[in-house]
Each structure stands twice: as C-alpha cells, then as structure tokens.
C-alpha cells in the first residue's frame, strides 16, 4: 500500500463519487476522469496523475450509499485506489468485489493525509503512527469471485463449465 491521499466523511454517496450528470458515460475506460467531480481538489489530484497506484482514501461509515451505478466503482478502479472505510453500503461493496476495486472494512481506523499504511494479515497498520487496526474480512461467499479475478472471469468460468467446454 501507499500513502493516504485524502480523508472523507461519513455517508459518501455515489452522487459524490460519480455525479449523476456523468452517467451517460459508462465504459470503465472513460469513467475515471469524473471521479469525485464535485470535490475539486481531489478530482484534480487524480486527473493530474499525481496519485500512484494503491494510494489510500480513508472514509467514514456507509461509503458508497445510494445508487447502484457501477461507474462509482470503475471510476476509482481506474486509479487503482484502495478505499478504507468504517463500513460500505451493500451494492457498492458488491460492485467493488465484482470489478476488483480494493475495499477494506476497518471500523476503528485512524489516519491522516500523508500517513503510510500497510496491510498485515487481518490488521491495517498505520506505519506513521505505529498503530494497528482490525480489518473485518469480506463475506466469505464473495471470496470465490475475488479469487477468480472478478465477476467477469468468474461467470465466464461458470459458463464454460455449464456448456461443457
């Protein structure tokens, strides 16, 4: 992992992550430009390519609440961000698993912008402060999808099994 680049509050909705007015743009290759479009400094930081892969955004509770729009995941996946939140809304979490966006449920996380973060087993370690926090593992049922590299390859595998290919 890398540094914390931004901190967000509770209840960040998909309207904040990917505003509705950009929803006609659907392709994962085209959505990243609109990530957090209404948070000007964050959007600029991302679009200016100042953010290395595996950079961390720290959020509060209920991240990704609201719409089922998958653009809210693909827009973040485009930067290979890691989202650490106290918890996630159901559809957003499932979309993340399906698309391979890294999400970490960490109810007690404490971190500031610029802190260095690392995962070690079921712990999230803030290397800057030396503190570590428990990670809540994803629902076990979803692991098969993650292991396959996302829902597209997983479904393709199931399709091939079904058709006997």
């Amino acid at each position: 992992m890398a540094k914390v680049i931004y901190k967000l509050e509770d209840d960040i909705s998909t309207d904040i992550i990917y505003p509705g007015r950009y929803m006609a743009t659907v392709l994962p290759t085209e959505t990243p430009q609109y990530a957090f479009a209404d948070i000007a400094d964050l959007n600029k930081m991302l679009n200016d390519k100042q953010v290395p892969q595996n950079s961390v955004i720290i959020a509060g509770k209920n991240f990704g609440c609201g719409s089922s729009r998958e653009q809210a995941c693909s827009t973040l996946k485009g930067y290979e961000l890691i989202i650490v939140a106290r918890n996630f809304a159901r559809i957003f979490l499932q979309n993340s698993i399906n698309l391979g966006l890294q999400t970490i449920v960490c109810p007690d996380v404490e971190a500031s912008v610029g802190d260095d973060m690392e995962i070690s087993g079921n712990k999230l370690i803030n290397k800057t402060t030396g503190k570590s926090f428990d990670i809540i593992p994803l629902p076990q049922a979803r692991q098969a999808i993650i292991d396959a590299g996302g829902l597209i390859p997983y479904t393709r595998k199931r399709l091939m099994e079904k058709t006997g290919k």
């Binding site: 509705g20 209920n62 698309l99």
Partner: protein
C-alpha cells in the same frame, strides 16, 4: 424450521425446502430489469463471452425487462446513441419486455414493472437500480445490483454466491391523520434506523396499517427502504396484492401468495403507531436527517418537484391537484410534475388533475426520472432549494452540489408550492 418471506422465496429459487440466514445460495432469477444502464450491462455481457467461442445469448429473454426512464427523451447525442444501441440489442436478443419512449408503454421502471404485471409474489427480482427494492410491495424479493452482476445474470440466470440476509420486522399499526401518508411513515422509519441501519438486511412490513394500505403506498415504502441501507423491503403478499395484479395490472394467470411463518426469526422488531405521526421531512444532505415538518416551516423554496418512482402515481397527483385546484403556485417558486408512467399521465389527464395543476402554475413534464438524480431536467441553480417527493437528497443529487434538496410527501409539497415556503398542510387548517 421457521422462515421469513425472503427465506421462503430464496429456498424455492434455490431448489431447497429451507434456508438459514447466512447460507450461501445461487437463486434463479425470475425477472431482471435494467434501464439506460443496459448499455453498460451489454458491454460487460459481451466481455464475459469474449474468447469463449460461444454466441452471446441471454439465458432467457422472456425474463429480461428494459425500460428507458432516466433520460427520456434523450438529452444528448451520447444518451441517444446508447438508447439506439440498446434498441438494436433488444431486437437481436428478442427481449419483449422492452419499454421505449412511447405512449402508455413508457414510464419509470419501478412503475412499469408492477403496472404491467411483470412482478409476482414470491419472485426473485433484480434490477440495475438501487430502488429495485420497490417491488417488495408485491411480495417479491427484489433488490438492486450493479451492471456486471446483471451481465452475469443475463448469462447464467442466477445470482452467484449470495448470502441469505437477516430480516428486520417492522410492525405498523394505527390510522394516518389527515395529510399524513406512507411517505411520512417511511421517512420517519429511515430517521429511526439511520442510513445504514438496515445495511445487508431485509425489512419485512407487517401490521394493520400495512394491511390496509394500497399497493401505491406499499411501493413508496419499499422503494425507500434502501435509504436505510436495506437490501430490500417486502410486504408479504395478500388480498390487496391480488387485487392490484388483477385490477390494475390485468394479470389473468394464477397468483401464488407467499407469507412468512408466524414465528419466523427476526434480527430486530420495530413497532410504530402512526396515529400520532405528523408530516415528516428529510433535510439536506442525508435521507436519515428526518424531522417533523414543523421544525423547518418557513424556509423559502425555489423548486417543488412532484413525481418519481416514490411518489409519482395517480393518488399522489390527485392529492396535489386537489390542494392546488383553483389556487396559484407562489410567485418565485417553480413547480414541476413528473407522472411516473404514460398510463398515469393519461389517467391524470382524463381526471383533470393535470389541468388543475397546470392552471395553478405547474409545469407538467413527460413521465421519467426527471430531476430526481440531476441527469436530465430540472437542475437547481447555485444556492437554490428544492422540496421534492423523490427519494434522495444527497449533496449534488439534483445536479448542483451547492443546492439543497428536502424530501416530503405530495401533500407537504403541494401546500408549500402555494406559499413558496416549507409548509405543514395541517397548520391552521383544522
């Protein structure tokens, strides 16, 4: 071995006699709905088939519904081209439950599905829209999924690896006071549960108030259950479900009701008596920021919106028309009305509701999602405030991050349109 409605539905759809909360299943899907975001589903669907040597065919086109509602008629060449591609795909795949921009066929997906009898009690329904929770009003287990998940459903006809959710039982009794409606009940409940209070859970609705409520009100309640984070809301099917399906949707074939076991196990039970409930309002910028309307009366309103999958049905328009008939919308306030479907639009026209509303100063727009999610019409200007019967008030929701959206019932919206400020319809009129 006692089960909730959703356990029973998932057991049947998985070929089991009984399932427990937490069991991992692959239930068969009875109905899979998408709107304009079918454009992304198509993209993901074709990617699944890439390199397989197989022809990309939907597992069962009769179980797919595609409805244009978010941007109708198209607002841009991008949307128009997406819609064109979807039309071509629909023809190729033989999807009959396709609702284009056309007369009685058009409308908001969550209105079209019940109105056309596509949803039945006991169905597993998925939709690429978070408000797919609406269809729990007809006793189906109905929930929102993303586009890639839908592409997987199109391929295999099942939802892969889902866990049986726990259920919260909400028991509602008592009689609504004048100008208090199902919308006030669901806003109140969301305020109590908070925006994440039902995350990963189902809300099952019971009690005399629910039994006596028509399907329109049940749709409002199930629609907004997702705003408490719920996977779905569900009203166990009953005589009213049958009445709606027969009389409104014109369903002729057999309807099988699914009800929970009387001693099913619930993770939480909430009792509400609506007799003392007063009109509620959700204040910016979260849907759980709910207060009695009286706490915010007098705030100036720039735009009133009546419509959406939450409150754009005939009874909602009737309430607004009856309150505005022969009166005028306050100067300086815009009132936008979006009937939820073509059929509702036409009936409201025949009954004179649209005439009364327009005479009062309202703008009657075509059926669709309208300004609800800020993608098409009715965006707000900087610093403006809207009062809306829709379902979300997130920052930027109505197209502008420096505006405010308040959520309320049609009665509160109509009363406020007359004064230009947030108004409790019960103040000074008893």
């Amino acid at each position: 071995m006692l089960q909730t409605v959703v356990q029973k539905i998932l057991a049947r759809a998985s070929g089991k006699s009984h399932v427990d909360v937490g069991d991992v299943l692959e239930p068969r899907v009875d109905l899979a709905m998408s709107h304009e975001n079918a454009a992304l589903v198509m993209n993901q669907f074709l990617e699944i088939y890439e390199g397989t040597g197989l022809e990309a065919k939907i597992w069962d086109p009769s179980k797919i519904a595609i409805i244009f509602d978010h941007r109708v008629p198209a607002e841009s060449k991008k949307t128009a081209t997406n819609q064109k591609k979807i039309r071509e795909f629909v023809a190729e795949q033989g999807i009959a439950k396709f609702h284009d921009i056309r007369g009685d066929e058009m409308g908001i997906c969550h209105q079209i599905l019940p109105e056309y009898g596509y949803v039945r009690p006991g169905y597993v329904v998925v939709g690429t829209d978070s408000h797919t929770t609406s269809h729990g009003a007809l006793g189906a287990f109905s929930f929102g999924i993303g586009a890639t998940e839908m592409a997987s459903v199109w391929t295999l006809g099942a939802i892969l690896n889902i866990e049986v959710p726990a259920t919260i039982k909400v028991v509602v009794n008592g009689k609504f006071q004048r100008h208090v409606a199902p919308k006030d009940l669901i806003l109140y409940l969301i305020g109590q549960l908070t925006a994440e209070g039902a995350n990963f859970k189902v809300i099952e609705y019971h009690g005399d108030t629910i039994r006596n409520m028509d399907t329109s009100g049940r749709l409002t309640i199930c629609n907004m259950s997702v705003e408490a984070g719920a996977t779905s809301g569900i009203v166990p099917s009953d005589e009213e479900t049958v009445r709606y399906l027969r009389e409104v949707a014109g369903v002729k074939d057999e309807i099988n009701l699914v009800v929970p076991d009387s001693d099913a196990s619930y993770v939480q039970v909430i009792d509400i008596d609506v007799t003392s409930l007063v009109p509620q309002i959700a204040c910016p910028h979260t849907v759980d920021n709910v207060k009695p309307v009286n706490e915010v009366v007098g705030l100036k309103i720039d735009q009133v919106v009546i419509g959406s999958c939450t409150n754009g049905r005939l009874d909602d328009l009737e309430i607004a028309a009856s309150m505005l008939k022969g009166k005028k919308v306050a100067k300086g306030t815009r009132m936008l009305v979006f009937p939820a479907s073509g059929k509702i639009y036409r009936e409201a026209m025949v009954k004179g509701y649209l005439y009364d509303l327009m005479e009062a100063g309202a703008v009657i727009a075509n059926p669709g999602c309208g300004p609800c999610l800020g993608v098409h019409q009715g965006a707000l200007g900087d610093g403006e405030r809207a009062l809306s019967t829709t379902n979300r008030n997130f920052k930027g929701r109505m197209g502008n991050p420096v505006s405010e959206v308040y959520l309320c019932s049609p009665a509160v919206a109509a009363a406020s349109a007359l004064t230009g400020v947030i108004t409790n319809p019960n103040n000074g009129s008893k």
